[in-house]
């Protein structure tokens, strides 16, 4: 019995030595500080690479639902203090340029004349919630074919009139058949609360990658940042 008393004490000490660093790491809602944060970002880049080059398929489609499966709720989201609205909607155009042979300004009428797709899909927010809704628009690949991107274009930058909200995308996700420039939501014209007159939509990316209130699409060979991406959110956001 005697050594049963002395052994646990030593073992408790050992446990303490091991548990110390573990609890330090877990403590205090720590984001890694200036030392570890850059390293976490570097690993996030690796995850982006794996997500784009190994996990993402260019032709696997997200499941579609009947329109009866729509969720009752699809919360509006914008970063401006008030709902972003165009003062003169009739003057709005979408500029598609950058590394392309034929930079073009598309009017809403011109986009509406292009072959459209409608689908009912599940929206995934980075916060963890989902919502099913229907979207109608022009596949981005259709628009890209009209402007003829240069072979060196690897990324796309999406700009908006929502206080500088923007996103950077990889070409592979942008050319996915379900990635569209959407102008209708649940069978009705897109309203300002969901990004009117035009927003990016795709069921293969998280919601924060789907730029609303679009003004420009720019093909580029340099990886563009983005509003949330620059603040630390994963760049790819691919699901």
């Amino acid at each position: 019995m005697t050594d049963r008393l002395s052994l646990p004490r030593r073992d408790f000490l050992r446990l303490g030595v091991l548990a110390g660093p573990a609890s330090l790491v877990a403590a205090c809602g720590w984001d890694g500080g200036s030392l570890l944060r850059p390293r976490l970002s570097a690993i996030s880049r690796i995850n982006d690479w794996v997500g784009e080059h190994i996990v993402l398929s260019s032709d696997r489609l997200a499941p579609t639902y009947p329109s009866t499966a729509r969720s009752g709720v699809m919360p509006p989201y914008f970063i401006s203090r008030t709902l972003p609205r165009l003062e003169r909607p009739e003057e709005w155009t979408l500029h598609v340029g950058g590394m392309v042979r034929k930079p073009t300004r598309f009017t809403a009428v011109a986009l509406g004349a292009l072959p459209a797709v409608t689908y009912t899909v599940k929206h995934h927010c980075v916060e963890g919630w989902t919502a099913v809704a229907s979207w109608t628009g022009v596949p981005l690949a259709t628009v890209a074919a009209l402007v003829e991107p240069a072979s060196g274009a690897r990324y796309l930058r999406f700009d908006s009139f929502d206080s500088g909200y923007s996103n950077g995308w990889d070409l592979k996700s942008a050319m996915h058949p379900q990635t569209i420039l959407a102008y209708a939501f649940n069978d009705r014209p897109l309203m300002p609360d969901h990004g009117a007159p035009l927003r990016l939509y795709s069921p293969i990316k998280l919601g924060y990658k789907l730029t609303k209130y679009l003004t420009a699409v720019t093909f580029t060979d340099e990886r563009p940042g983005g509003y949330w991406e620059d603040r630390g959110y994963p760049w790819l956001g691919g699901i």
């Binding site: 052994l7 073992d11 050992r14 877990a26 976490l40 996990v55 398929s57 919630w129 293969i204």
Partner: protein, 230 residues
């Protein structure tokens, strides 16, 4: 057992087992801390506006949130970056452990098989004080085998549900296998509490029943009451 001369230590845990054990402990703490941080962004299960009728005492309707000391990352993006960074070494550590089990043949003393059911019942009777003497055992008793087998399965569940909700479209087949995105997210969250419950019982049993095993998982040498017969 009293009055016996102290036993000579026996070699119990290989270096690979000891290193993967403690790495898992630290990485799991990090995965849970960052996971709780991520959960706080939407502390419900189900679609937006359609909360599922699943048991969840941590729904924000009735729960104010996990305390800051239990979270890792500071905010959602920080939690995500920690979670997706630690996931690599967490999975890798588990695979190294399993590979060692397979190569060394040590899985034989750890895998719970049908023939362990009867000894497991006897062991449970002993713990409930319905049986006086400790049943004979090898390196591990049948209940330990059940615990160490199910914790590996739980690790597999946590990893698979985690990958499924990380890439729910690309891994759509996996999401379907777990019953859809919202349920998969629930199983992933449930695995946290099973890990926590396991750890509490695991540490309690070590301290109350066989404190010498704590020394063994650090130094590899065991000098306690249950020397190996395997």
């Amino acid at each position: 057992m009293t009055g016996e001369a102290p036993r000579a230590p026996v070699r119990r845990h290989h270096l690979v087992v000891r290193v993967t054990h403690w790495l898992t402990a630290v990485l799991l703490a990090g995965m849970i801390g960052s996971g709780l941080q991520i959960y706080m962004a939407f502390p419900h299960f189900g679609e937006k506006g359609k909360v599922y009728a699943l048991l969840n005492p941590f729904d924000s309707n009735q729960f104010s949130g996990f305390p800051e000391w239990s979270r890792l990352g500071g905010w959602l993006a920080g939690g995500l970056n920690w979670h997706f960074a630690l996931a690599w070494p967490f999975v890798l550590t588990g695979l190294v452990y399993l590979a060692y089990m397979a190569v060394s043949g040590e899985w034989r003393s750890l895998l719970f098989r049908p023939r362990d059911v009867r000894p497991a019942v006897q062991m449970q009777l002993y713990y409930l004080r319905l049986r006086r003497d400790h049943p004979p055992q090898g390196k591990h008793n049948a209940l330990q085998k059940a615990a160490y087998t199910s914790i590996v399965l739980l690790g597999g569940l946590a990893v698979l549900t985690g990958f499924a909700i990380y890439k729910p479209v690309q891994l759509g087949w996996l999401v379907s296998a777990f019953g859809g995105f919202e349920l998969t997210r629930y199983w992933h969250f449930l695995s946290v509490w099973l890990f926590v419950a396991f750890t509490v019982v695991h540490v309690l049993l070590v301290l109350l029943v066989d404190p010498a095993s704590l020394r063994a998982i650090v130094t590899g040498r065991y000098r306690g009451r249950f020397p190996s017969h395997d």
